[in-house]
Symmetry: C2
Subunit: 249 residues, 2 copies
């Protein structure tokens, strides 16, 4: 079975300016792995219509699904929704049902700016969520979510039942504290060759002023991942270091 694929498009001047540390990618990436959807690309673009529209059309054509974060609030810099309409070549129209939900919740405070959050590409389906009145929306294979992490997470949760599924992408790791990558590289390459169905990665880190390496196996074939990581553990042990098993991903 081939896993569905995905990309994330972050629409965010605040990420590009360094003002905000993105945390949405890691959240979405981990959830997608559970669902068996392979995250294959992330892009961050500024709040410029041409850049958003171009990226949306490129990424929605290349992957099974595209998740966007950011730019769906009520202010002048929130232009994602209009840009998605332009990318799909459909009108950007008031979604009456959503406007009604807003009027019920906010009464007279529903002004023109807030109604922008009820305006969507024609044919879009709202992504209702527990964290906010204003929804995200899905059109085609594009899922448009907020940038604020707690709202994005609520939207993702609401969206999950609608997403395609694949075989769950599993991860196992083993740590060698005091092991240098360069000393085990050959052996590790040989393990990768023996287990082509496992995506075997090597990630150095420094902890308590000591270098170490995390060897990580990833894929859908758990038996192969565990066999590869057992061999990686033996490689660490052969360096005279006790291998520390990692948490299952």
């Amino acid at each position: 079975m081939t896993n569905p694929t995905a990309a994330i498009l972050i629409i965010g001047n605040e990420i590009l300016s360094g003002r905000t540390q993105d945390v949405n990618v890691q959240f979405i990436a981990q959830r997608l792995a559970e669902l068996g959807i392979k995250l294959e690309e992330v892009r961050v673009v500024p709040d410029i219509p041409g850049r958003i529209i171009g990226a949306v059309n490129e990424l929605r054509a290349a992957y099974t699904c595209l998740f966007t974060t950011g730019g769906i609030g009520p202010t002048h810099d929130d232009i994602t929704s209009e840009c998605i309409a332009a990318a799909f070549g459909v009108p950007w129209v008031l979604h009456e049902e959503t406007a009604e939900v807003m009027r019920a919740a906010w009464g007279e405070r529903v002004n023109a700016a807030r109604l922008r959050m009820a305006t969507m590409p024609q044919g879009a389906v709202p992504i209702k969520n527990e964290a906010s009145i204003a929804p995200g929306f899905t059109i085609g294979n594009v899922h448009v979510m907020a940038g604020v992490p707690r709202i994005m997470q609520a939207m993702f949760k609401a969206l999950e039942p609608e997403l395609p599924r694949g075989e769950r992408i599993e991860m196992r790791a083993v740590y060698g504290i005091g092991v240098l990558e360069g000393s085990i590289a050959d052996g590790l390459g040989a393990i990768q060759d023996r287990f082509p169905q496992v995506d075997l990665g090597s990630y150095p880190f420094k902890r308590d002023n000591k270098w170490g390496v995390a060897l990580v196996g990833k894929g859908t074939d758990v038996a192969a991942i565990e066999a590869a990581i057992a061999e990686a553990s033996a490689l660490i042990a052969a360096q005279g270091v006790v291998p520390v098993p990692g948490e299952p991903g």
Copy 2:
């Protein structure tokens, strides 16, 4: 004066799997703002040659400079360096001077895997750094750095004197705690219209269970940024909320 532009390319299965939280983008973004270089795009791609080569060639053509992070270690999954050579259409060759530095530092531990870290696209100039023996490198307008944050930061520091400069990109912010974006959106849009040279952003947040909004002005014209933020403060005050000035960026 037009600011130089930049993109970051993260070569990182570990980011796409959700195993690792990227922190390099924020570091580089903040440093680039200081240097007056406008970060206009970030991409994350997997450790697949065609994906790396394609992204490198697209991004180096589109921006003044491209920074890559990740994939320059000694293991089988470290393929960035070869891919950069392929992107430039030049041979991938041992950099003798770097090999000498390694032999001096590591002696007999310099094996074939470690020599991969001294192998570079022909014509590349090493980026020496305080944190590691193995360097990054620059070729054309592409700066190739490690993925491990402390090594990347040391490489960036070594690289800084070589980078183009522009007018410093300044940031000022004001916070309205208890202010909802939808209530000030019209006024904020009018301020943006009055200060087209300022990039005015609105970012909602929740703190102590209360929604608030950060209004952020960005650009190279400090007087205009400060005037726009003064007007934004007045907008917050008009909501009956005391505006809280943000730290200068």
